[in-house]
Symmetry: C2
Subunit: 243 residues, 2 copies
Amino acid sequence: MHPLQQAAKCSTCVIGKFCLPLGLTIEEAEQIDILVSQKLRLNKGEYLYHQGDPFISLYSIRFGSLKTELLLQDGRSQIIGFHLPGEILGLDGIGNNVYQSEAIALEDCEVCIVQFSEFETLCQKIPSLQRHLYQLLSREITQDHRHLLTLGSLNAEEKLAYLFIYLSERLAKRGLSSTEFNLAMGREEIGDYLGLKIETVSRILSKFSQAGIIEVKSKHLKILNIKELYRLAGSELTQPIRQ
Amino acid sequence: MHPLQQAAKCSTCVIGKFCLPLGLTIEEAEQIDILVSQKLRLNKGEYLYHQGDPFISLYSIRFGSLKTELLLQDGRSQIIGFHLPGEILGLDGIGNNVYQSEAIALEDCEVCIVQFSEFETLCQKIPSLQRHLYQLLSREITQDHRHLLTLGSLNAEEKLAYLFIYLSERLAKRGLSSTEFNLAMGREEIGDYLGLKIETVSRILSKFSQAGIIEVKSKHLKILNIKELYRLAGSELTQPIRQ
DNA sequence: CGAGCGTTTGAAATCGGTCAACAGCAGTGG
DNA sequence: CCACTGCTGTTGACCGATTTCAAACGCTCG
């Protein structure tokens, strides 16, 4: 089913400091190396897992990005998250031993495979790792709550502003530019994330451009007035998350 | 700040089987008794915690119900969840040692206090308890994802149908009637949960009543045609969560 | 009984959705 | 190299669901 598998190592991975080994000693990180033995490449559009698949592994992203989504029978889809390198996928599978969403590559990417049962055992031995997993889960909850606020209480402009700030901050954390980056997702996917139609997304991008807030050329985005975006998105709520 | 504190015991609590001790042996449950030493009463409208308060404890609901919400500067509010007896509150505090939402009593209620640092230590000793906490966190994520789908992809009627089914299923799990119950929240709170205005909520309740789907008399709800509610809410997605 | 709040209902306004045409660009194949 | 095709994104005109504004209703509690 999946194209290729190779050995992986946390202790030498460049993404390591944003990823699972965060906060571990060198010896502890080496213990993870044993678990994280395989990685896996996906081409754009390929599935990492489907809703209902048996939950066996967590995945951490080495490079590229993915989306997770829920589907309705009639074709409507809700994108739950856009996922960047260093982030962990599959956490929603722990609750009922079945993945609860679809995970799809937004572009060519590579993920590490972490068998959960082994990882759980290791967590028993390394308290700081256990704590890290709790925090990972809890932060995902917090992110989802922000997303809920966005979908339930913001208007279309505010929603777009939220997304751009959210992406910007996460990229900054990884040492990348917070003001100029590529959108791996298309307009429709932006809409499915924010509960908007593609035409609305497009119109608001045009409006932001004309207002001098951003510059968009197809997938490339440059933020010119980030303050205005913060103002629109309800600034007090986009701040408090640290990592 | 909080009205009253009394001794609590999991091993004798009637709500126990839906709560933290779920799946533990008698000896293990007695170990929890030591942790869960205090409980606390709240009157309707009182806060259990505020966004930004230091995270010290998880809370489990003995009776009554609460809401958690996020607020925007301009007064808009997004309700994140309605919480019933046996459910755990405060999980969003683990990630950054600060509660990330407001928790408010919807009616008079009582909660048990579980100091998280002690609970975490106990989890190290009892693997099944550790697993339970992971599952708790993961299921909250799954619930939030459903809620996201609801806010982002459903129309007003479908949203209401989703809420009623969601409440109905959770009450059924507790051995209560799945077709007739009281809504602890007001119309405005329903709206803040679903991303709708109070008038829209009211109109759709009237419409459902006229269509013979429900019977509402102020806070009392009777579901007459649950199949139709399932159909509206996108049935395939309200099923798979087990507990 | 009257005050006050929460809820319901109606009419008008608005935001975002729908439908439709078109533009831009990548890939394909002559 | 350049038409042809198909896909994605943009723009405009119109439509409709939900919001807004306003008024009335009906509890509950002093």
